[in-house]
């Protein structure tokens, strides 16, 4: 009786030690497989079909027609180009400003908590709220930004209809929301840099600016790469900011002349305005390819830079 119980306990114990780890990681993989991995793969299958929003269960095989149509579609190249330009306009200043801000926050400060929380506050606002406020600040006739520009003698800028102005305005929403967040990432990395490196540089007569360039920036290089990757993914998906900036019907097409339509908006337009889900899937797949391309380029650049150094 006792031996029997003992054996059952060891068996249960073994089962627990062997099986529990899988049970613990299972929820993640089940949900991920069902709602992320499977859809991602299935997207490519759908992109080879003609599917309409109203009749989702009717799929008609069309081969690569959606892809050739996309390739010949000016809107696609326009959206791709816009995604790229808005991405650069928003990412580059954002990360440079974050770097400077992190450097300032890295000083010994009074009220450092206040400055950190203040820098992060925009991160708490939703795309919706932030885009609404900035749309108003960038209003052509009464917006605060045009009013300020008028004080220094600049004529009213049509932020909505001028292509580059609109892209700048949209980028500024992204910059505002994410600069503080990136600054905190940089700050954390900066604080992990050993202080002797600064001392050594100081002994060698490096000025503070030189120390920043030669000690701080290399010291947080992997964080910088990480933020570039994250911002690139974010930029590829840009959606809410241009949509809301367009205020209604013009939002989905990215302005009256598609002047700020991004790939995300094009995906939405094809699927949920033109009801062509197959085509929307094709845009999604194109976005995926763009991302892969960006990563490959980034790897190559990184390797080339490493070889030079």
């Amino acid at each position: 009786m006792g031996a029997e119980r003992q054996r059952r306990r060891t068996l249960l114990h073994r089962l627990d030690v062997r099986g529990a780890p899988y049970a613990f990681v299972a929820p993640f993989f089940v949900v991920f497989a069902a709602f992320s991995f499977y859809p991602l793969i299935y997207t490519s299958w759908i992109s080879l079909h003609r599917v309409e929003l109203s009749t989702l269960n009717l799929m008609e095989w069309v081969g690569f027609d959606n892809y050739t149509a996309l390739w010949d579609d000016d809107r696609f190249w326009n959206a791709l180009f816009n995604t790229f330009t808005i991405g650069v306009l928003s990412t580059v200043p954002q990360l440079l400003m974050a770097l400077g801000l992190a450097h300032l926050l890295n000083y010994r400060l009074r009220g450092s908590t206040f400055f950190r929380v203040a820098a992060l506050t925009p991160y708490a606002t939703s795309v919706g709220a932030a885009a609404l406020v900035f749309t108003m600040l960038f209003e052509r006739d009464f917006g605060m930004i045009n009013w300020m520009l008028s004080l220094v003698g600049v004529d009213n800028i049509d932020w909505e209809n001028n292509k580059w102005a609109a892209q700048t305005a949209i980028s500024s929403i992204v910059i505002w929301r994410w600069t503080g967040y990136n600054a905190l990432l940089y700050l954390a990395a900066m604080q992990a840099i050993p202080r002797d490196r600064y001392e050594a540089a100081a002994i060698d007569g490096a000025s503070r600016w030189q120390q920043f360039l030669k000690v701080t920036v290399p010291g947080i290089r992997s964080t910088i790469v990480f933020t570039i990757v994250l911002s690139t993914i974010g930029a590829t998906q840009l959606f809410g900011e241009p949509l809301i900036f367009g205020q209604g019907p013009n939002g989905i097409t990215g302005g009256a002349d598609n002047q700020y339509q991004t790939l995300g908006l094009l995906l939405y337009e094809e699927g949920w305005k033109n009801y062509q889900m197959g085509r929307a899937a094709t845009v999604a797949w194109a976005m995926f390819l763009v991302l892969i391309l960006v990563f490959v380029v980034q790897r190559v650049v990184k390797r080339v830079l490493a070889r030079k150094a």
Binding site: P27, F37, Y107, V133, W178, Y181, I203, A281
Partner: protein, 313 residues
Amino acid sequence: MTTDSIPVQTADARPGTARKARKATPSGGRRRQLFRHPGAGRQHHAGPVAYILLGIAALFSLFPLYWTMVAASTDNTRVTQTPPPFLPGPHLLENLGKAWQDAALGKAMLNSLIVAGVIALSTVLFATLAGFAFAKLRFKGRNILLMLVIGTMMVPPQLGVVPLFMMITELGWGQKLPAVIFPTLVSAVGVFFMRQYLSEALPDELVEAGRVDGAHSLRIFWSIVLPIARPPMAVLFMITFVHAWNDFFWPFIVLDMTNPTVPVALTQLSAGYVRDQSLIMAGALLGTLPLLALFVVFGRQIVGGIMQGAVKG
């Protein structure tokens, strides 16, 4: 950046450990005194220029929010005059009330609270479970599975949105909250975040001691892991909550105005036929207030959490 992501450290160096290590090194105090250069790194006190620049940065961060409040407290004619108003007017409560009704914000807030709350809870629970397994339990395929987790962090959710929409329609979840909740129940970044924390903060001996005492895995998780993991769980909860509350793309696709979350409801305000700017700003303010409150109360912790999770050079 719209991906649900908090950064995670890649190296096993949390700020705490780095700081401790630095303190422990016996680098002679006198030598440091002698060679202290005015520019010697982060020990340096901020000068007036740094304060001025930081003040400007803080102004840029906070001004749009302040001005939202100003615009929300005036009326439409005043807000569209030049120069624009800089001080609050008398109509704040009135506008808030009207925006609340026009954008159905009551329902939207409740929806957002449910969505963000459930997502944050489940993300934290499953991330802690999986993070514990990856950090402290041995099993076949552990490394491959962990690589998979890391790999998935790079896949933006937007790419699978078309089939996801088809699935949701098939399941009959269109315009319903489960459509928003289920796809985001777990987060790879969360799993990795908890793993990194637990590999360091949870001593192996403690887990083994639990085993010797005859506790089964779930029991160990409940009585040993959970108490230790409480601080990073709180951080993960807040960050996930903020992300889920602000998520826009997918909710905008699957929900409509009859049953929106806050960000979806806010689009209604700007797309309206009659555009009352003060009302729009009142709505924007209302939609942001809950998270601003969260920041006022837990700002320091959220900041600390983001910094703790950051990649170390």
